[in-house]
Amino acid sequence: MGLLPATSGSVNLLGQELVGMRERELRRVRRNVQIIFQDPYASLDPRMTVGGIVGEPFRIHPEVAPRGDRRAKVQELLEVVGLSPEHYNRYPHQFSGGQRQRIGIARALALRPQIIVCDEPVSALDVSVQAQVINLLERLQDEFDLSYVFVAHDLSVVRHISDRVAVMYLGKIAEIGDEIQIYEHPTHPYTQALLSAVPVPDPTLRGQREEIVLTGDVPSPANPPSGCRFRTRCWKAEDLCAEEEPALIQRVAGTSQLSACHFAAELDVIHAHPTP
């Protein structure tokens, strides 16, 4: 997003290299990428009306909507996300969490971006409201042909919404692949531990799934372990893991996902395995 300067590396958007790009060009490109934040309470300016908030991107990019059209455009956006156009003059505190998240989504859509980064968009919402927002995101994706970068810690929600999944540990990708590969055929021990830790809302599966309870705590990202950063909690770790950082490459024959583990091997952990 360029909100924080990258220290090194390369970010490629729609074929253009972003790191090192000048501010003006960056702003033009950035139009194509918008963000929805986690906290629907902190991410909206409490002193601005809904109309002002959703219309703000038009002030920064006046070329998208001439002044006279803005109100109508904003009201159209409110309708798209399931809010009433009459809410134009209200303030954020007059809305519920789910409605505020809709306001944030309307703002993100204003410039008709190609990509929206969703940073934990439903984790602050009530269970009964999460599905409303997830369904809305899915509908908008179809309607506007959007791509999402969906950042979340709820693995069930991630599975529901994603086509491709990257699993990160201490700031690095441990495994990346399509949704089926990651969820049904994970090869990295961290992916496996993570998936096995997610409880399934079905008491008949109790004790029937692979149970991997990791020991120890998550180390500080500022001072990650040498070699493989997962090795301090990994049950497969050997000397090699401390010595050599495993590259993110294709590891298991017959699968195309990339895995950063010296001892990558498939293990299905989310389905019931009859106890012997």
Partner: protein
Amino acid sequence: MSTVDEAKHGDDTVAFGSRRQRSRTEASQSDDLGFDASAPLLVVEDLRVEFHTREGVAHAVNGASFTVGHGETLGILGESGSGKSVTAQAVMGILDSPPAKVGGGKVLLRGVDLLALPEESRRLVRSNRVAMVFQDALSALNPVFTVGYQLGELFRIHRGVTRQEAKTEAVSMLDLVGIPGAAQRVSDYPHQFSGGMRQRVMIAMALALDPDVLIADEPTTALDVTVQAQIMKLLADVQAERNMGMILITHDMGVVADVADKICVMYAGRIVERADVHSVYGNPAHPYTKALLESIPRIDHKGQQLASIEGLPPNLTKLPEGCSFHPRCRFRRDRCTTDDPPLYDIGGSRQSACHYYEEVLAT
């Protein structure tokens, strides 16, 4: 593979040998309250808690009833604001009053109504018999004392042990909850522990005086999913080991499915469904429970579009007429907008607060 097991096997005798020694004074004082060993462990009857706010009276808990037996885990499920924490605080006797006010009901521990006890006796019960684990360990621990001191004080005050004995007890408690290097860590301050370890410290504090009932209010919500699994396993192990009654409060349908024996589903201050865990998940009897189950994505299959519950939970000071859930309910009929459904007994030790539970069960 788990630290929990290692800790247990390492120091079994210390941890479990000493915990039974109640100081004579406190044990007899709390026994003087008239506890009846043959009465059920915990029975909550028609509990009511209100908040008097500027907008009016909010019925945060509106007639909640449930029981918890030895070795049993009751899950209380419900979304934000449904009254889970207020219920727990009322049972513990730690409500902030004012603004909260217990409007009625009973909390019977072994036959003794805790709500009728004077504060002095409640304090005794709180430390010895009913303990609680909170979501936010940092705010529950005192930042200026070492965890060893805080744990040790429990034993010194309530069990009358010496400073040296208190320290030994503190170390064995930390060991019991799976904190590596307990003998050293006992001298650390709360902020020197990671989130998961701090949660373990709080569990150690709650378990120190060997309570009969442990209430865990969202004990893992703030934690990484792998650490959450560790803590849930710790709680389940200790509960089974000590044959405690446990109340687990959460909004996570997965966590409850994994550990609870029976479940209360709360909506807008009411218990709307009460049943054993298999019935609730296998064939829910209340439209709200049913809708919740259909609205969450599952990890073990990709699934289709989620069935969402339209609308929002109601404002507690302005509950809808009739059934509180009616504005969001897809089973609603005219009657629902005027008649408030009681918690119907629907057979098989199950209850549902829906006029049309038969229809819900059948679809």
